[in-house]
């Protein structure tokens, strides 16, 4: 039930943002994330934008791999 998916905001009108989720255009409420800007990737859950997504996941994996290879600990 807590499934949420990332989507790019293409348009904002009033407190609603337009996003595309797997090929379908949807309007999501920005009530819980009023700081959203056009172009942001947001995490969408039950019709609401919940948080802005950073493209950090790949970096985190790489940092962890570097640590396993002996780099100092940075991952937390």
């Amino acid at each position: 039930m807590c499934l949420a998916v990332p989507a790019k905001v293409t348009e904002i009108k009033d407190a609603m943002g337009r996003v595309e989720i797997s090929g379908v255009t949807r309007d999501v409420s920005l009530m819980l994330l009023p700081e959203t800007k056009v172009g942001d990737y947001v995490l969408v859950h039950a019709g609401f934008a919940m948080q802005i997504v950073d493209e950090k996941s790949a970096l985190e994996t790489n940092a962890l791999l570097a640590e396993m290879n002996g780099a100092p600990r940075t991952v937390d």
């Binding site: 039930m1 807590c2 409420s29 009530m31 819980l32 859950h45 919940m50 950073d54 985190e60 962890l64």
Partner: protein, 374 residues
């Protein structure tokens, strides 16, 4: 900048190798609990259990909101659904959850007006379209979902909608963790913490797990590689005797969570003692609407006359949800209890532990293990 498939596979192989090295000499396996139903499903789908060495066990916890919704709640929802003047709006997985004598799905087949919505906000439109009826949204979910229902109440109020109400069975994860930690029967060496709950709450609410119980916790994302990374971090803490709350889902989980969501949540709701199916009452683990929003609280607007009780069945969901037994230990599993005819709620929801075991556990383990290693 995403990793390519090949890079992902190489990273997964490396992480597993490190986990194996760390856990090799253990006398007793590490037991980590995932407390989120979406994690349960990803773990099965990704074949993660099969990739891990025997010394690292994963058990599922009470993290599927539908599964922990008690049958007295379903009976109340059904009693409302039977009224001609009420339209029920709900997320789809509530339809097959058994109440004591019926389910919402059966009531719908008999003609009750029950509509599946994608967002609680859809209830506002339905309320507009049917001014002569009351629309009842079944507000079920954890901290991730509760703000969306609370925001819907605020929006309905702003639009002056008088015919929309909620029936709240929303729940909070940290009190359930505390309850599990206090149970002497339950033994866990670490928690895989629910990423999308933490998007709202932030990571601080989980600190007590490490500070008071000296158990590590890692907030995890939902891709198989993100889960593996989190398991690795749990192993590393366990190996070094540490207990901290780490965030392995920094792409969306901020330490402070989402303050707007929490503000809206606190505006509309307050904590109450709540019943969890198969587990019992957990203090201050549920959310009820504050007095000032009673106009949107169904139990206040149209109180039901009968009393509703929790019934006993042979279902072992309670033990399954506490990680004490696996679904295979339930005598009904795969026999009288299957997804198309569920006895307990853990078999109903796609995120239920029993449903995940049933779907991915029968003969498919090998196949998944092989593709996982390929």
């Amino acid at each position: 900048m995403a990793l390519t498939r090949a890079e992902e596979r190489a990273a997964a192989a490396k992480i597993i190798e490190e986990i194996r090295a760390m856990s090799q000499k253990l006398e007793k396996p590490w037991r980590f609990m995932e407390v989120c139903g979406t994690h349960t499903v990803s773990i099965f789908r990704g074949g993660i259990r099969q990739m891990l060495p025997e010394q690292v066990e994963l058990v599922s916890g009470p993290g599927c909101p539908v599964c922990v919704t008690p049958d007295d709640y379903m009976d109340k929802a059904i009693a409302y659904a039977r009224r001609e003047d009420i339209i029920i709006t709900t997320f789809g997985d509530m339809l097959r959850v058994p109440g004591s004598e019926s389910s919402l799905g059966e009531e719908q087949a008999k003609g009750a007006d029950i509509r599946i919505v994608y967002s609680p906000l859809d209830s506002i439109r339905i309320a507009w379209e049917h001014p002569d009826k009351k629309v009842l949204f079944l507000a079920v979910g954890f901290e991730t979902t509760a703000p969306t229902a609370a925001a819907t109440v605020l929006e309905a109020k702003r639009q002056g909608i008088g015919n929309l109400c909620l029936l709240s069975a929303q729940k909070l994860v940290p009190p359930a963790l505390r309850f599990l930690l206090q149970d002497p029967e339950i033994h866990v060496d670490g928690f895989l913490l629910p990423g999308h709950v933490a998007v709202v709450t932030g990571t601080g609410v989980f600190r007590f797990v490490a500070e008071e119980y000296h158990i590590p916790g890692v907030v995890a994302g939902f891709e198989p590689l993100q889960i593996l990374r989190a398991i690795y971090l749990l192993c590393r803490q366990a190996a070094e005797g540490e207990a901290r709350i780490e965030n392995a889902y920094g792409s969306v989980v901020r330490p402070e969570g989402n303050p707007h969501s929490r503000e809206i949540l606190e505006e509309v709701y307050e904590p109450v003692d709540a019943g969890w199916r198969g587990i019992g009452i957990i203090p201050r683990s549920g959310l009820c609407m504050k007095g000032k929003y009673e106009a949107f609280d169904m139990e206040h607007q149209l109180p039901l006359e009968r009393e509703f009780k929790i019934r006993k069945t042979a279902c072992r969901c309670g033990e399954v949800l506490r990680g004490l037994v696996t679904p295979r230990d339930c005598p009904l599993f795969g026999k009288s209890c299957v997804p198309t005819h569920a006895v307990g709620p853990c078999m109903v929801s796609v995120e239920g532990v029993c449903a995940a075991w049933y779907k991915y556990g029968q003969g498919r383990f090998q196949q998944f293990a092989q593709s996982g290693k390929a």
